[in-house]
């Protein structure tokens, strides 16, 4: 019993790199362990990028399928999650390109919703309704951002990733990552400020 516990403990303590090596050797159970460990992370990021649960789940599936097929390309010097998020970022970028038409429609819809919400026709007697409104505004504005701005906002300001990891995911320098985050925040503020009563003059 004690042996089993220590064994399972050792298995639990397997690093991502060890699991990747096992999966490379054909151990699918090891890959399932990787999936269990990181599915939430991938799903969260995918959801923030797509804002749809079904789309996010499709992205998760595709991301893990691609990861499984390309395990030989994974370098041990990078964190597995960083590598995985890079795959997800690329997938979301591809998806955004393919569904450009749909996105355009969503933007129009978002703009309409924002107009409707900021027209003042509806009063929000409850404070949490105001919070919800702000949240919706922010979500819509985030979805309307170009994908390169959206990804850095999600990584830094929603998922709270460190700059070096963001740089790794995006394939740029840390300074470049900081600059991208700064520009994305500026772009987001430009979009939401008219609807939140800010004066940008």
């Amino acid at each position: 019993m004690g042996y089993d516990a220590s064994l399972s403990g050792r298995v639990e303590m397997d690093t991502d790199v060890a699991l990747v090596k096992k999966a490379r050797d054909g151990d699918f159970h090891a890959f399932e362990q990787l999936f269990d460990r990181h599915r939430t992370l991938v799903y969260r990021f995918a959801y923030q990028m797509t804002s749809r649960r079904d789309d996010a789940e499709d992205v998760v599936q595709e991301a893990f399928v691609r990861a499984y097929q390309n395990l030989h390309r994974y370098r041990d010097e990078a964190k597995f999650t960083t590598w995985l998020l890079r795959i997800v970022t690329n997938l979301c970028t591809d998806q955004a390109r393919m569904s450009q038409r749909r996105t355009a429609l969503e933007q129009q819809e978002a703009a309409g919703a924002l107009d409707w919400m900021t027209s003042g026709d509806i009063e929000d007697p409850v404070h949490n309704l105001e919070a919800d409104r702000r949240k919706i505004v922010l979500r819509k504005a985030l979805n309307a951002l170009p994908i390169h701005h959206r990804s850095v906002i999600v990584l830094r300001d929603i998922e709270e990733r460190e700059y070096p990891e963001i740089a790794s995911i995006l394939g740029c320098t840390v300074g470049g990552a900081k600059l991208r985050v700064l520009r994305a925040r500026r772009a987001l503020r430009d979009r939401i400020s008219p609807f939140l009563g800010e004066d940008r003059s």
Partner: protein, 259 residues
Amino acid sequence: MRRKLEDEAARLAFGDMNPQEAEKLRQKVAGDRKAEAVVQAYADMRDGLKSLAEIPEDQFSKDRLRDAILTQGLKPVPTRVRNNRNWLWMPATASAMGFVLMFSVQMLHRRSGPTNIVVNAPKGYSLGSSILPPNSSASGVSAKSAGLTASNLGHGHSAVESSTSVDPDEVDPRISASNLVSGEDDAAVDPDLGSRPTGPNLAALPVTDGNLATLTASNNSPKPASAEPIILIDQDKDDQTGACRATEVGSSSNVLVGG
């Protein structure tokens, strides 16, 4: 508001500044309502973005992933041995192959070297004995002219004919001929000899019989006598041409091989 100040306000609101920088900027924007509003707007945005972190639970299952991967028959691509110095194999292999090729061509060239046969050489005279390998045997082929010495048997008799055009004055008393025997299967050596003269291993031998020449062979692969003619070049000059006289032996039946 200046863009730089706005960027600094964003960094302050999102906590990307160290404490010293943050304090300095706070003092800078203090009293400036616009600047303070910008900082507050970014702070609100930061809080709003954090609230977006709440997302619905996923309903993704492991089975779905397994189906997506295994039912499609997908497999991870086999890991290749990757090394930063992998490219060194290419020039190294090319060099090795080039070396082997050059060596092979050189060896082939040596094997197909000219065959020299000397007829009527002084008894006991040895051609190229200095290059004779220590293990070369001293067996030979006897021809009808005395003093025949041979080395480097190899190809057909055309080369023998060309050698007859050499000025006799410049030619060694031993008459040389090349390529006495054509091909490996055409060795004009008695099978009883048990060897076939080839290349540089062939030793020059003294003639042992007046009508027969002696060929030396170091190769120990016995070859049957062929039906192709053997041309023996005599030291005597032809009256009409002035060149050395050549005698064609119809077959190896006229050639006695012996020590």
